[in-house]
Symmetry: C2
Subunit: 273 residues, 2 copies
Amino acid sequence: MIIIAEKINGSIPSVGKAIEAGDADFIRNLAKVQSEAGADFIDVCASVEVSRELETLKWMIDIVQEATDTPIAVDSPSAETCAKAIDFCKRPGLVNSVSMEGNKIATVFPKIARTDWQCAALLCDDTGIPRSAEKRLEVLEALMQKAKEYNIDPSRLHIDPLVEMLATSDDGVNMIIEVMKEIRRRYPTLHVTGAASNISFNLPARKIVNQAFVVLAMNAGLDSVILDPLNRDLRGLIYATEALLGRDEMCIEFIQAFRRGVFGTQPQAPAKK
Amino acid sequence: MIIIAEKINGSIPSVGKAIEAGDADFIRNLAKVQSEAGADFIDVCASVEVSRELETLKWMIDIVQEATDTPIAVDSPSAETCAKAIDFCKRPGLVNSVSMEGNKIATVFPKIARTDWQCAALLCDDTGIPRSAEKRLEVLEALMQKAKEYNIDPSRLHIDPLVEMLATSDDGVNMIIEVMKEIRRRYPTLHVTGAASNISFNLPARKIVNQAFVVLAMNAGLDSVILDPLNRDLRGLIYATEALLGRDEMCIEFIQAFRRGVFGTQPQAPAKK
């Protein structure tokens, strides 16, 4: 499972505060602990006003790169900003994310065309988020056509079929699971990713819904996910699912991750009064 | 999901001690809390020497029936003992479990033939536990033939395809999932059950492996399970999975179970020093 670590995002209140205060230590520590927990990419999102987004991103990326060698996932609502932020990065990372909306692909794909950069792509276009599996797969094909034009190999793409909230769905996750399976069938080397926590929006005990969803989605092809790598329960469940799906012979990776303390019971710090 | 509550079993040390001490209160309380937690059947297994198994079972069953109206799952390695224990029960319950071994079916099926009793059945025979999905399904067909002879409707049977341990498997849970899907396909009204915790034998962090397995197995057709209904994490995950699989419109049952406190964060008792 490819882990895109989500904790360095200015929309998280503690991170937003650290950005305002210029608290480099706070950002540095988040980079370190997520890297040590096994992140494959460290997502960096400023979530500040547009006028100072790029300089803020540069400041954050510099700090993260000083703290760890884990590649960066540059993250901004603006494809232009992502394309520019690539230049701040010492090593190839991931652009999070493009779609068939506006000129996003035309901005990002030429920039990463002759590089080792990877890219997350959402299955939506200028008409919005398609309602049916069929329509999402039409967007997929249009997107893959673009990737071909720029000679970007499927193995460099992480397709997000757009996980929506369960609370208002008619048939559970059926449609999204169908899309995931079909992506996997059509392009075996593509990565299937998703913002798993969208599923539980507006529900209680969200953590539990996210956990069950990740297991079902992995069964359908999910092999990349944006999450908090310090969430031990979810990490453990992912290792267990890999083993159950026959992707971890004799459970060796599961057992090793347990021994490294990635999940499971560990000596706890004394409870605070 | 049909929950067969597993806590009243003499092989659990605290229960074994209560049986030896004739501690009816201990058994009564286990029946009550499991029933209140939503058990559909309360498994009762003596795990004492054969010479006093039947009288012990009667003592236990009487206590449970005094404490709750939840039906009993009579549980013994001996089909004869199960068949006799049925007579102690006030209302139809479940026989746990028969198989194509020896005269088990010939002992239990005629006893429950004209009743509302249900029965769990394992896919093994006198040659042992079949190694392949194909062979297990052959045992299934032989078993269903027997059920037909005794006019026992598939909806009264819980088929346990025999979950084995993941730690020594070659291909994860692939084979058992295949068997579950095929049972469901051939006999849509059959219940598919399993001793889920077998999967994690010899692994660390067993709870996590069991959780991931239950989600995958539910996706393949599991709709009945022997478990500890007081395990809040697993109960929550089961409710979440039902919703994700489209079996809980608008997540109403999930939300109601959360409100009843079946799972999720609740006010905790102060930690012990």
